[in-house]
Subunit: 213 residues, 3 copies
Protein backbone atom coordinates (compact mmCIF):
# COMPACT_ATOMS: atom_id res chain seq x y z
CA UNK A 1 0.00 0.00 0.00
CA UNK A 2 2.73 2.46 1.00
CA UNK A 3 4.77 1.60 -2.06
CA UNK A 4 1.74 1.98 -4.30
CA UNK A 5 0.97 5.39 -2.78
CA UNK A 6 4.58 6.50 -3.29
CA UNK A 7 4.67 5.37 -6.92
CA UNK A 8 1.39 7.09 -7.70
CA UNK A 9 2.61 10.20 -5.88
CA UNK A 10 5.77 10.33 -7.99
CA UNK A 11 3.76 9.88 -11.20
CA UNK A 12 1.55 12.75 -10.11
CA UNK A 13 4.65 14.83 -9.38
CA UNK A 14 6.01 14.09 -12.84
CA UNK A 15 2.89 15.09 -14.77
CA UNK A 16 2.34 18.24 -12.73
CA UNK A 17 5.98 19.16 -13.31
CA UNK A 18 5.34 18.84 -17.06
CA UNK A 19 2.65 21.52 -16.78
CA UNK A 20 4.98 23.86 -14.89
CA UNK A 21 7.85 23.35 -17.29
CA UNK A 22 5.62 23.90 -20.31
CA UNK A 23 4.42 27.21 -18.86
CA UNK A 24 8.03 28.23 -18.22
CA UNK A 25 9.16 27.40 -21.75
CA UNK A 26 6.29 29.42 -23.20
CA UNK A 27 7.32 32.43 -21.10
CA UNK A 28 10.90 32.00 -22.34
CA UNK A 29 12.49 31.37 -18.96
CA UNK A 30 15.98 29.94 -18.97
CA UNK A 31 16.80 26.36 -18.05
CA UNK A 32 16.92 27.02 -14.33
CA UNK A 33 13.70 28.99 -14.33
CA UNK A 34 12.00 26.10 -16.08
CA UNK A 35 13.27 23.66 -13.47
CA UNK A 36 12.09 25.88 -10.61
CA UNK A 37 8.63 26.10 -12.15
CA UNK A 38 8.60 22.33 -12.57
CA UNK A 39 9.40 21.80 -8.92
CA UNK A 40 6.99 24.49 -7.71
CA UNK A 41 4.10 23.20 -9.81
CA UNK A 42 4.68 19.62 -8.75
CA UNK A 43 5.29 20.05 -5.05
CA UNK A 44 3.80 23.29 -3.71
CA UNK A 45 0.45 21.72 -2.89
CA UNK A 46 2.01 18.91 -0.89
CA UNK A 47 4.51 21.17 0.85
CA UNK A 48 1.82 23.60 2.01
CA UNK A 49 -0.35 20.70 3.19
CA UNK A 50 2.55 19.23 5.16
CA UNK A 51 3.37 22.58 6.77
CA UNK A 52 -0.28 23.07 7.74
CA UNK A 53 -0.67 19.64 9.35
CA UNK A 54 2.75 19.72 11.00
CA UNK A 55 4.42 17.00 8.89
CA UNK A 56 7.85 18.69 8.92
CA UNK A 57 10.06 18.41 6.95
CA UNK A 58 7.62 17.93 4.07
CA UNK A 59 8.00 14.80 1.97
CA UNK A 60 9.08 16.81 -1.06
CA UNK A 61 11.96 18.25 0.99
CA UNK A 62 13.08 15.16 2.88
CA UNK A 63 12.90 12.72 -0.05
CA UNK A 64 15.09 13.46 -3.07
CA UNK A 65 12.90 11.38 -5.42
CA UNK A 66 10.33 14.16 -5.62
CA UNK A 67 13.07 16.52 -6.79
CA UNK A 68 14.29 13.92 -9.26
CA UNK A 69 10.84 13.37 -10.76
CA UNK A 70 10.23 17.10 -11.13
CA UNK A 71 13.68 17.74 -12.60
CA UNK A 72 13.32 14.91 -15.11
CA UNK A 73 10.02 16.36 -16.29
CA UNK A 74 11.59 19.80 -16.53
CA UNK A 75 14.58 18.61 -18.57
CA UNK A 76 12.42 16.63 -20.98
CA UNK A 77 10.16 19.63 -21.51
CA UNK A 78 13.08 21.99 -21.95
CA UNK A 79 14.92 19.94 -24.55
CA UNK A 80 11.83 18.46 -26.19
CA UNK A 81 9.33 21.31 -25.96
CA UNK A 82 7.87 20.55 -29.37
CA UNK A 83 7.24 16.97 -28.32
CA UNK A 84 5.32 18.00 -25.21
CA UNK A 85 3.27 20.54 -27.14
CA UNK A 86 2.25 17.84 -29.58
CA UNK A 87 1.20 15.70 -26.61
CA UNK A 88 -1.01 18.41 -25.21
CA UNK A 89 -4.12 16.31 -24.96
CA UNK A 90 -2.38 13.43 -23.20
CA UNK A 91 -0.81 15.95 -20.84
CA UNK A 92 -4.25 17.23 -19.91
CA UNK A 93 -5.32 13.68 -19.19
CA UNK A 94 -2.20 13.10 -17.08
CA UNK A 95 -2.83 16.38 -15.31
CA UNK A 96 -6.35 15.26 -14.42
CA UNK A 97 -4.89 11.99 -13.16
CA UNK A 98 -2.34 13.86 -11.04
CA UNK A 99 -5.06 16.11 -9.64
CA UNK A 100 -7.16 13.09 -8.71
CA UNK A 101 -4.28 11.31 -7.06
CA UNK A 102 -2.99 14.28 -5.08
CA UNK A 103 -6.50 15.12 -3.87
CA UNK A 104 -7.18 11.66 -2.44
CA UNK A 105 -3.65 11.19 -1.07
CA UNK A 106 -3.79 14.65 0.51
CA UNK A 107 -7.11 13.99 2.21
CA UNK A 108 -5.84 10.64 3.47
CA UNK A 109 -2.70 12.20 4.94
CA UNK A 110 -4.66 15.03 6.59
CA UNK A 111 -6.98 12.48 8.23
CA UNK A 112 -3.96 10.49 9.40
CA UNK A 113 -2.67 13.63 11.13
CA UNK A 114 -5.94 14.02 13.02
CA UNK A 115 -7.66 16.85 11.16
CA UNK A 116 -11.44 17.30 11.31
CA UNK A 117 -13.25 15.63 8.38
CA UNK A 118 -14.34 18.86 6.68
CA UNK A 119 -10.87 20.38 6.89
CA UNK A 120 -9.26 17.13 5.70
CA UNK A 121 -11.32 17.34 2.51
CA UNK A 122 -10.32 20.99 2.07
CA UNK A 123 -6.65 20.10 2.53
CA UNK A 124 -7.00 17.29 -0.02
CA UNK A 125 -8.33 19.82 -2.50
CA UNK A 126 -5.51 22.22 -1.62
CA UNK A 127 -2.92 19.50 -2.23
CA UNK A 128 -4.35 19.01 -5.69
CA UNK A 129 -4.66 22.64 -6.71
CA UNK A 130 -1.73 24.22 -4.80
CA UNK A 131 0.85 23.45 -7.45
CA UNK A 132 -1.06 25.19 -10.19
CA UNK A 133 -1.54 28.25 -8.00
CA UNK A 134 2.19 28.47 -7.23
CA UNK A 135 3.08 28.02 -10.92
CA UNK A 136 0.80 30.86 -12.01
CA UNK A 137 1.83 33.20 -9.18
CA UNK A 138 5.49 32.79 -10.14
CA UNK A 139 4.52 33.90 -13.65
CA UNK A 140 2.59 36.89 -12.20
CA UNK A 141 -0.74 35.61 -13.51
CA UNK A 142 -4.12 35.13 -11.87
CA UNK A 143 -4.17 31.39 -11.11
CA UNK A 144 -5.93 29.47 -13.85
CA UNK A 145 -7.22 27.12 -11.16
CA UNK A 146 -9.52 29.88 -9.98
CA UNK A 147 -11.18 29.95 -13.40
CA UNK A 148 -10.77 26.57 -15.13
CA UNK A 149 -13.59 24.11 -15.67
CA UNK A 150 -14.53 22.50 -12.35
CA UNK A 151 -10.85 22.03 -11.52
CA UNK A 152 -10.98 22.62 -7.79
CA UNK A 153 -14.49 21.29 -7.38
CA UNK A 154 -13.42 17.97 -8.89
CA UNK A 155 -10.52 17.81 -6.42
CA UNK A 156 -12.85 18.61 -3.52
CA UNK A 157 -15.27 15.88 -4.62
CA UNK A 158 -12.50 13.28 -4.77
CA UNK A 159 -11.16 14.29 -1.37
CA UNK A 160 -14.65 14.23 0.13
CA UNK A 161 -15.10 10.61 -0.97
CA UNK A 162 -11.98 9.63 0.95
CA UNK A 163 -13.15 11.45 4.06
CA UNK A 164 -16.65 9.97 3.85
CA UNK A 165 -15.18 6.50 3.33
CA UNK A 166 -13.03 6.92 6.41
CA UNK A 167 -16.03 7.95 8.52
CA UNK A 168 -18.00 4.94 7.22
CA UNK A 169 -14.98 2.63 7.67
CA UNK A 170 -14.95 1.57 4.04
CA UNK A 171 -11.62 -0.13 3.17
CA UNK A 172 -9.02 2.48 2.18
CA UNK A 173 -8.07 1.15 -1.28
CA UNK A 174 -11.71 1.23 -2.30
CA UNK A 175 -12.28 4.83 -1.19
CA UNK A 176 -8.99 5.97 -2.75
CA UNK A 177 -10.04 4.37 -6.02
CA UNK A 178 -13.57 5.75 -5.90
CA UNK A 179 -12.41 9.25 -4.95
CA UNK A 180 -9.71 9.40 -7.59
CA UNK A 181 -12.08 8.02 -10.21
CA UNK A 182 -14.74 10.60 -9.38
CA UNK A 183 -12.26 13.50 -9.55
CA UNK A 184 -10.70 12.22 -12.77
CA UNK A 185 -14.06 11.62 -14.43
CA UNK A 186 -15.53 14.96 -13.38
CA UNK A 187 -12.52 16.84 -14.67
CA UNK A 188 -12.44 15.05 -18.03
CA UNK A 189 -16.17 15.55 -18.52
CA UNK A 190 -15.81 19.23 -17.62
CA UNK A 191 -13.02 19.70 -20.18
CA UNK A 192 -14.94 17.87 -22.89
CA UNK A 193 -18.24 19.62 -22.33
CA UNK A 194 -16.92 22.99 -21.17
CA UNK A 195 -18.71 22.78 -17.84
CA UNK A 196 -18.17 25.87 -15.75
CA UNK A 197 -19.33 27.29 -12.47
CA UNK A 198 -21.46 30.43 -12.62
CA UNK A 199 -19.87 33.89 -12.57
CA UNK A 200 -21.43 36.62 -10.45
CA UNK A 201 -23.28 39.39 -12.20
CA UNK A 202 -21.20 42.48 -11.41
CA UNK A 203 -23.26 45.31 -9.94
CA UNK A 204 -24.70 47.56 -12.60
CA UNK A 205 -24.35 45.05 -15.44
CA UNK A 206 -27.47 44.37 -17.45
CA UNK A 207 -28.46 40.69 -17.57
CA UNK A 208 -27.65 40.19 -21.23
CA UNK A 209 -23.97 40.96 -20.60
CA UNK A 210 -23.68 37.93 -18.36
CA UNK A 211 -25.12 34.93 -20.12
CA UNK A 212 -24.19 32.49 -17.41
CA UNK A 213 -25.52 34.48 -14.44
CA UNK B 1 -12.57 35.58 27.61
CA UNK B 2 -11.79 32.68 25.28
CA UNK B 3 -15.35 32.66 23.96
CA UNK B 4 -15.28 36.40 23.45
CA UNK B 5 -11.98 36.18 21.54
CA UNK B 6 -13.38 33.39 19.34
CA UNK B 7 -16.57 35.32 18.55
CA UNK B 8 -14.65 38.47 17.68
CA UNK B 9 -12.21 36.40 15.61
CA UNK B 10 -15.04 34.88 13.59
CA UNK B 11 -16.59 38.32 13.02
CA UNK B 12 -13.21 39.55 11.79
CA UNK B 13 -12.97 36.52 9.50
CA UNK B 14 -16.42 37.26 8.10
CA UNK B 15 -15.76 40.90 7.26
CA UNK B 16 -12.34 40.22 5.76
CA UNK B 17 -13.89 37.47 3.66
CA UNK B 18 -16.38 40.04 2.35
CA UNK B 19 -13.47 42.11 1.04
CA UNK B 20 -11.89 39.10 -0.69
CA UNK B 21 -15.16 38.00 -2.24
CA UNK B 22 -15.93 41.51 -3.49
CA UNK B 23 -12.53 41.67 -5.20
CA UNK B 24 -13.16 38.27 -6.80
CA UNK B 25 -16.59 39.25 -8.11
CA UNK B 26 -15.16 42.43 -9.64
CA UNK B 27 -12.51 40.39 -11.45
CA UNK B 28 -15.23 38.03 -12.74
CA UNK B 29 -13.96 34.89 -11.05
CA UNK B 30 -16.38 31.98 -10.91
CA UNK B 31 -18.11 30.85 -7.73
CA UNK B 32 -15.23 28.71 -6.56
CA UNK B 33 -12.64 31.39 -7.23
CA UNK B 34 -14.69 33.82 -5.17
CA UNK B 35 -14.82 31.36 -2.27
CA UNK B 36 -11.08 30.77 -2.42
CA UNK B 37 -10.42 34.51 -2.33
CA UNK B 38 -12.81 34.82 0.63
CA UNK B 39 -10.93 32.18 2.57
CA UNK B 40 -7.50 33.51 1.61
CA UNK B 41 -8.35 37.09 2.52
CA UNK B 42 -9.88 36.07 5.83
CA UNK B 43 -7.35 33.55 7.05
CA UNK B 44 -3.94 34.02 5.44
CA UNK B 45 -2.71 36.41 8.10
CA UNK B 46 -3.61 34.06 10.92
CA UNK B 47 -2.29 30.98 9.15
CA UNK B 48 1.10 32.56 8.47
CA UNK B 49 1.30 33.79 12.06
CA UNK B 50 0.50 30.31 13.39
CA UNK B 51 3.11 28.71 11.13
CA UNK B 52 5.73 31.23 12.25
CA UNK B 53 5.11 30.75 15.97
CA UNK B 54 4.73 26.98 15.69
CA UNK B 55 1.00 26.77 16.47
CA UNK B 56 0.39 23.85 14.09
CA UNK B 57 -2.14 23.03 12.75
CA UNK B 58 -3.29 26.67 12.47
CA UNK B 59 -6.66 27.54 13.98
CA UNK B 60 -8.14 28.26 10.53
CA UNK B 61 -7.24 24.71 9.49
CA UNK B 62 -8.17 22.79 12.61
CA UNK B 63 -11.48 24.57 13.30
CA UNK B 64 -14.17 24.37 10.61
CA UNK B 65 -15.94 27.50 11.88
CA UNK B 66 -13.35 29.73 10.19
CA UNK B 67 -14.10 28.03 6.90
CA UNK B 68 -17.82 28.36 7.52
CA UNK B 69 -17.58 32.10 8.27
CA UNK B 70 -15.47 32.76 5.17
CA UNK B 71 -17.72 30.64 2.95
CA UNK B 72 -20.87 32.34 4.21
CA UNK B 73 -19.36 35.74 3.39
CA UNK B 74 -18.33 34.48 -0.05
CA UNK B 75 -21.78 33.11 -0.88
CA UNK B 76 -23.55 36.26 0.25
CA UNK B 77 -21.22 38.41 -1.83
CA UNK B 78 -21.53 36.16 -4.86
CA UNK B 79 -25.32 36.07 -4.92
CA UNK B 80 -25.88 39.57 -3.57
CA UNK B 81 -22.96 41.50 -5.08
CA UNK B 82 -25.10 44.59 -5.67
CA UNK B 83 -26.10 44.61 -2.00
CA UNK B 84 -22.48 44.51 -0.85
CA UNK B 85 -21.46 47.24 -3.26
CA UNK B 86 -24.20 49.46 -1.87
CA UNK B 87 -22.83 48.75 1.62
CA UNK B 88 -19.33 49.83 0.65
CA UNK B 89 -18.93 52.32 3.45
CA UNK B 90 -20.13 49.95 6.16
CA UNK B 91 -17.79 47.31 4.72
CA UNK B 92 -14.85 49.67 5.11
CA UNK B 93 -15.85 50.23 8.71
CA UNK B 94 -16.14 46.48 9.28
CA UNK B 95 -12.79 45.99 7.59
CA UNK B 96 -11.18 48.48 9.95
CA UNK B 97 -12.81 46.62 12.85
CA UNK B 98 -11.46 43.31 11.58
CA UNK B 99 -8.00 44.78 11.16
CA UNK B 100 -8.07 46.10 14.72
CA UNK B 101 -9.23 42.81 16.14
CA UNK B 102 -6.79 40.62 14.23
CA UNK B 103 -3.89 42.89 15.15
CA UNK B 104 -4.51 42.75 18.89
CA UNK B 105 -5.44 39.05 18.91
CA UNK B 106 -2.36 38.24 16.82
CA UNK B 107 -0.02 40.12 19.14
CA UNK B 108 -1.60 38.42 22.16
CA UNK B 109 -1.15 34.97 20.64
CA UNK B 110 2.46 35.67 19.64
CA UNK B 111 3.24 36.76 23.21
CA UNK B 112 1.57 33.62 24.56
CA UNK B 113 3.92 31.55 22.40
CA UNK B 114 6.94 33.27 23.92
CA UNK B 115 8.02 35.69 21.20
CA UNK B 116 10.09 38.75 21.99
CA UNK B 117 7.98 41.90 22.50
CA UNK B 118 9.09 43.68 19.32
CA UNK B 119 8.49 40.63 17.14
CA UNK B 120 5.12 39.97 18.82
CA UNK B 121 3.98 43.42 17.73
CA UNK B 122 5.25 42.76 14.19
CA UNK B 123 3.38 39.45 14.09
CA UNK B 124 0.22 41.17 15.30
CA UNK B 125 0.53 43.60 12.42
CA UNK B 126 1.17 40.71 10.02
CA UNK B 127 -1.96 38.91 11.26
CA UNK B 128 -3.97 42.01 10.42
CA UNK B 129 -2.51 42.76 7.01
CA UNK B 130 -1.65 39.24 5.74
CA UNK B 131 -5.09 38.51 4.37
CA UNK B 132 -5.15 41.59 2.19
CA UNK B 133 -1.71 40.75 0.82
CA UNK B 134 -2.76 37.19 -0.09
CA UNK B 135 -5.96 38.46 -1.72
CA UNK B 136 -4.09 40.91 -3.94
CA UNK B 137 -1.29 38.47 -4.84
CA UNK B 138 -3.88 35.94 -6.02
CA UNK B 139 -5.23 38.65 -8.33
CA UNK B 140 -1.68 39.41 -9.55
CA UNK B 141 -1.77 42.95 -8.15
CA UNK B 142 0.65 44.90 -6.00
CA UNK B 143 -0.91 44.59 -2.52
CA UNK B 144 -3.07 47.58 -1.70
CA UNK B 145 -1.93 47.24 1.90
CA UNK B 146 1.49 48.49 0.85
CA UNK B 147 -0.09 51.73 -0.35
CA UNK B 148 -3.36 52.38 1.52
CA UNK B 149 -3.83 55.08 4.12
CA UNK B 150 -1.97 54.09 7.31
CA UNK B 151 -3.35 50.56 7.03
CA UNK B 152 -0.38 48.65 8.36
CA UNK B 153 0.77 51.41 10.67
CA UNK B 154 -2.62 51.37 12.40
CA UNK B 155 -2.33 47.60 12.85
CA UNK B 156 1.19 47.99 14.26
CA UNK B 157 0.02 50.64 16.70
CA UNK B 158 -2.79 48.44 17.99
CA UNK B 159 -0.50 45.45 18.37
CA UNK B 160 2.12 47.58 20.14
CA UNK B 161 -0.46 48.61 22.76
CA UNK B 162 -1.11 44.95 23.57
CA UNK B 163 2.61 44.23 23.89
CA UNK B 164 3.24 47.30 26.04
CA UNK B 165 0.28 46.40 28.24
CA UNK B 166 1.65 42.92 28.73
CA UNK B 167 5.07 44.28 29.75
CA UNK B 168 3.40 46.67 32.20
CA UNK B 169 1.06 43.94 33.46
CA UNK B 170 -2.08 45.89 32.62
CA UNK B 171 -5.14 43.59 32.63
CA UNK B 172 -5.57 41.92 29.25
CA UNK B 173 -9.16 42.99 28.44
CA UNK B 174 -8.17 46.61 28.95
CA UNK B 175 -5.13 46.43 26.63
CA UNK B 176 -7.08 44.51 24.00
CA UNK B 177 -9.77 47.18 24.07
CA UNK B 178 -7.31 50.07 24.00
CA UNK B 179 -5.22 48.54 21.22
CA UNK B 180 -8.20 47.68 19.05
CA UNK B 181 -9.70 51.11 19.66
CA UNK B 182 -6.46 52.86 18.68
CA UNK B 183 -6.10 50.83 15.47
CA UNK B 184 -9.76 51.28 14.54
CA UNK B 185 -9.72 55.00 15.23
CA UNK B 186 -6.45 55.63 13.37
CA UNK B 187 -7.68 53.77 10.31
CA UNK B 188 -11.05 55.56 10.20
CA UNK B 189 -9.39 58.95 10.62
CA UNK B 190 -6.88 58.09 7.88
CA UNK B 191 -9.68 57.12 5.47
CA UNK B 192 -11.70 60.24 6.25
CA UNK B 193 -8.81 62.68 6.02
CA UNK B 194 -6.74 60.90 3.40
CA UNK B 195 -3.73 60.60 5.69
CA UNK B 196 -0.80 58.95 3.96
CA UNK B 197 2.79 58.12 4.67
CA UNK B 198 5.44 59.94 2.61
CA UNK B 199 6.68 58.52 -0.71
CA UNK B 200 10.37 58.61 -1.51
CA UNK B 201 11.58 61.09 -4.08
CA UNK B 202 12.87 58.91 -6.89
CA UNK B 203 16.40 59.78 -7.95
CA UNK B 204 16.46 62.45 -10.63
CA UNK B 205 12.94 63.74 -9.96
CA UNK B 206 12.61 67.44 -9.38
CA UNK B 207 10.98 68.37 -6.08
CA UNK B 208 7.76 69.71 -7.58
CA UNK B 209 6.93 66.27 -8.99
CA UNK B 210 6.70 64.88 -5.52
CA UNK B 211 4.49 67.13 -3.40
CA UNK B 212 4.62 64.90 -0.34
CA UNK B 213 8.38 64.38 -0.25
CA UNK C 1 32.12 30.54 14.89
CA UNK C 2 28.52 31.18 15.96
CA UNK C 3 29.22 34.88 16.37
CA UNK C 4 30.91 35.04 13.00
CA UNK C 5 27.96 33.31 11.33
CA UNK C 6 25.52 35.72 12.99
CA UNK C 7 27.51 38.79 11.94
CA UNK C 8 27.79 37.60 8.35
CA UNK C 9 24.07 36.71 8.39
CA UNK C 10 23.14 40.21 9.51
CA UNK C 11 25.36 41.77 6.83
CA UNK C 12 23.64 39.58 4.25
CA UNK C 13 20.26 40.68 5.62
CA UNK C 14 21.29 44.31 5.32
CA UNK C 15 22.44 44.16 1.71
CA UNK C 16 19.46 42.12 0.57
CA UNK C 17 17.18 44.61 2.31
CA UNK C 18 18.84 47.37 0.26
CA UNK C 19 17.76 45.60 -2.91
CA UNK C 20 14.16 45.27 -1.69
CA UNK C 21 13.96 48.88 -0.57
CA UNK C 22 15.41 50.13 -3.85
CA UNK C 23 12.77 48.21 -5.78
CA UNK C 24 10.05 49.67 -3.53
CA UNK C 25 11.27 53.24 -3.98
CA UNK C 26 11.32 52.83 -7.76
CA UNK C 27 7.72 51.62 -7.70
CA UNK C 28 6.79 54.64 -5.56
CA UNK C 29 5.59 52.72 -2.52
CA UNK C 30 5.18 54.71 0.66
CA UNK C 31 7.54 54.48 3.62
CA UNK C 32 5.84 51.45 5.11
CA UNK C 33 5.67 49.60 1.83
CA UNK C 34 9.39 50.14 1.37
CA UNK C 35 10.10 48.74 4.83
CA UNK C 36 7.94 45.67 4.17
CA UNK C 37 9.79 45.01 0.91
CA UNK C 38 13.10 45.40 2.75
CA UNK C 39 12.11 42.83 5.32
CA UNK C 40 10.62 40.44 2.77
CA UNK C 41 13.63 40.59 0.47
CA UNK C 42 16.07 40.09 3.32
CA UNK C 43 14.34 37.35 5.27
CA UNK C 44 11.92 35.35 3.12
CA UNK C 45 14.53 32.84 2.05
CA UNK C 46 15.61 32.10 5.60
CA UNK C 47 12.04 32.00 6.93
CA UNK C 48 10.91 29.50 4.30
CA UNK C 49 13.99 27.36 4.94
CA UNK C 50 13.33 27.37 8.69
CA UNK C 51 9.67 26.43 8.18
CA UNK C 52 10.65 23.58 5.86
CA UNK C 53 13.24 22.10 8.21
CA UNK C 54 11.13 22.62 11.32
CA UNK C 55 13.25 25.35 12.95
CA UNK C 56 10.26 27.19 14.42
CA UNK C 57 10.03 30.06 15.19
CA UNK C 58 12.41 31.12 12.39
CA UNK C 59 15.46 33.13 13.36
CA UNK C 60 14.16 36.21 11.56
CA UNK C 61 11.04 36.07 13.75
CA UNK C 62 12.57 35.20 17.10
CA UNK C 63 15.56 37.55 16.90
CA UNK C 64 14.81 41.29 16.58
CA UNK C 65 18.23 42.04 15.08
CA UNK C 66 17.13 40.75 11.68
CA UNK C 67 14.23 43.19 11.74
CA UNK C 68 16.58 45.96 12.84
CA UNK C 69 19.06 45.30 10.03
CA UNK C 70 16.31 45.21 7.40
CA UNK C 71 14.63 48.34 8.77
CA UNK C 72 17.90 50.26 8.84
CA UNK C 73 18.55 49.39 5.21
CA UNK C 74 14.97 50.40 4.30
CA UNK C 75 15.21 53.77 6.06
CA UNK C 76 18.58 54.59 4.49
CA UNK C 77 17.27 53.73 1.03
CA UNK C 78 14.05 55.69 1.56
CA UNK C 79 15.70 58.91 2.71
CA UNK C 80 18.85 58.59 0.61
CA UNK C 81 17.54 56.94 -2.56
CA UNK C 82 19.86 58.97 -4.79
CA UNK C 83 22.85 57.83 -2.77
CA UNK C 84 21.94 54.17 -3.17
CA UNK C 85 21.33 54.57 -6.89
CA UNK C 86 24.79 56.06 -7.29
CA UNK C 87 26.16 53.04 -5.41
CA UNK C 88 24.51 50.59 -7.77
CA UNK C 89 27.62 48.71 -8.62
CA UNK C 90 28.74 48.27 -5.02
CA UNK C 91 25.19 47.14 -4.20
CA UNK C 92 25.43 44.42 -6.83
CA UNK C 93 28.69 43.30 -5.29
CA UNK C 94 27.12 43.28 -1.83
CA UNK C 95 24.13 41.40 -3.22
CA UNK C 96 26.43 38.73 -4.61
CA UNK C 97 28.15 38.56 -1.23
CA UNK C 98 24.78 38.18 0.51
CA UNK C 99 23.74 35.47 -1.91
CA UNK C 100 26.97 33.57 -1.29
CA UNK C 101 26.66 33.84 2.46
CA UNK C 102 22.99 32.86 2.66
CA UNK C 103 23.57 29.89 0.36
CA UNK C 104 26.37 28.38 2.46
CA UNK C 105 24.74 29.21 5.81
CA UNK C 106 21.43 27.79 4.58
CA UNK C 107 23.01 24.53 3.44
CA UNK C 108 24.87 24.24 6.74
CA UNK C 109 21.69 24.74 8.76
CA UNK C 110 19.74 22.24 6.65
CA UNK C 111 22.46 19.62 7.22
CA UNK C 112 22.41 20.36 10.95
CA UNK C 113 18.67 19.59 10.94
CA UNK C 114 19.30 16.21 9.37
CA UNK C 115 18.27 16.72 5.76
CA UNK C 116 19.58 14.50 2.98
CA UNK C 117 22.66 15.95 1.22
CA UNK C 118 20.94 16.72 -2.08
CA UNK C 119 18.01 18.44 -0.42
CA UNK C 120 20.34 20.37 1.91
CA UNK C 121 22.03 21.87 -1.15
CA UNK C 122 18.63 22.74 -2.64
CA UNK C 123 17.57 24.41 0.61
CA UNK C 124 20.82 26.38 0.67
CA UNK C 125 20.04 27.64 -2.81
CA UNK C 126 16.48 28.46 -1.73
CA UNK C 127 17.76 30.44 1.25
CA UNK C 128 19.83 32.53 -1.13
CA UNK C 129 17.22 33.17 -3.80
CA UNK C 130 14.00 33.17 -1.73
CA UNK C 131 14.22 36.81 -0.78
CA UNK C 132 14.45 38.01 -4.36
CA UNK C 133 11.46 35.87 -5.30
CA UNK C 134 9.33 37.32 -2.48
CA UNK C 135 10.38 40.86 -3.37
CA UNK C 136 9.36 40.46 -7.01
CA UNK C 137 6.10 38.64 -6.23
CA UNK C 138 5.03 41.50 -3.93
CA UNK C 139 5.58 43.83 -6.89
CA UNK C 140 3.53 41.50 -9.14
CA UNK C 141 6.52 40.77 -11.38
CA UNK C 142 7.99 37.53 -12.68
CA UNK C 143 10.93 36.94 -10.31
CA UNK C 144 14.16 38.24 -11.79
CA UNK C 145 15.93 35.33 -10.13
CA UNK C 146 14.31 33.01 -12.65
CA UNK C 147 16.02 34.94 -15.45
CA UNK C 148 19.18 36.66 -14.15
CA UNK C 149 22.70 35.60 -15.04
CA UNK C 150 23.51 32.33 -13.23
CA UNK C 151 21.96 33.71 -10.04
CA UNK C 152 20.45 30.53 -8.68
CA UNK C 153 23.06 28.25 -10.19
CA UNK C 154 25.80 30.16 -8.36
CA UNK C 155 23.88 29.72 -5.09
CA UNK C 156 23.44 26.02 -5.76
CA UNK C 157 27.17 25.62 -6.48
CA UNK C 158 28.12 27.33 -3.21
CA UNK C 159 25.66 25.23 -1.21
CA UNK C 160 26.88 22.05 -2.89
CA UNK C 161 30.44 22.76 -1.76
CA UNK C 162 29.27 22.94 1.86
CA UNK C 163 27.37 19.66 1.52
CA UNK C 164 30.29 17.91 -0.18
CA UNK C 165 32.67 19.21 2.47
CA UNK C 166 30.43 17.85 5.20
CA UNK C 167 30.33 14.40 3.57
CA UNK C 168 34.13 14.42 3.23
CA UNK C 169 34.56 15.76 6.79
CA UNK C 170 36.50 18.81 5.67
CA UNK C 171 36.64 21.42 8.48
CA UNK C 172 33.55 23.65 8.39
CA UNK C 173 35.24 27.09 8.13
CA UNK C 174 37.14 25.90 5.08
CA UNK C 175 34.04 24.62 3.25
CA UNK C 176 32.05 27.71 4.16
CA UNK C 177 34.82 29.88 2.75
CA UNK C 178 35.25 27.80 -0.39
CA UNK C 179 31.51 27.60 -1.04
CA UNK C 180 30.91 31.29 -0.49
CA UNK C 181 33.92 32.16 -2.64
CA UNK C 182 32.73 29.95 -5.49
CA UNK C 183 29.22 31.41 -5.43
CA UNK C 184 30.52 34.99 -5.18
CA UNK C 185 33.04 34.51 -7.97
CA UNK C 186 30.61 32.78 -10.31
CA UNK C 187 28.01 35.49 -9.85
CA UNK C 188 30.49 38.35 -10.42
CA UNK C 189 31.89 36.66 -13.52
CA UNK C 190 28.38 36.06 -14.84
CA UNK C 191 27.46 39.72 -14.36
CA UNK C 192 30.67 40.96 -16.02
CA UNK C 193 30.55 38.60 -18.97
CA UNK C 194 26.78 38.34 -19.33
CA UNK C 195 26.82 34.57 -18.88
CA UNK C 196 23.34 33.09 -19.18
CA UNK C 197 21.75 29.71 -19.20
CA UNK C 198 20.12 28.60 -22.46
CA UNK C 199 16.49 29.37 -23.20
CA UNK C 200 14.29 26.71 -24.74
CA UNK C 201 13.36 27.03 -28.37
CA UNK C 202 9.60 27.53 -28.27
CA UNK C 203 7.74 25.11 -30.53
CA UNK C 204 7.38 26.46 -34.03
CA UNK C 205 10.21 28.99 -33.78
CA UNK C 206 12.81 28.81 -36.51
CA UNK C 207 16.38 28.33 -35.27
CA UNK C 208 17.62 31.80 -36.18
CA UNK C 209 15.12 33.38 -33.75
CA UNK C 210 16.85 31.70 -30.83
CA UNK C 211 20.58 32.30 -31.02
CA UNK C 212 21.34 30.59 -27.74
CA UNK C 213 19.34 27.40 -28.31
Amino acid sequence: MEVLLLVLDLIGTFVFALSGATAGVRRRLDLFGVLVLSFAAANSGGVVRDLLIGAVPPAAVSDWRYLAAATAAGLITFYRAALIERLRNPVRVFDAAGLALFAVAGAHKALAFGLEPVMAAVLGMLTGIGGGIARDLLLAEVPLVLRAELYALAALAGAAVVVAGSLLQVPLPLTLGLGAGLCFGLRLMAIRHGWRLPIARPPGASPQDVPDA
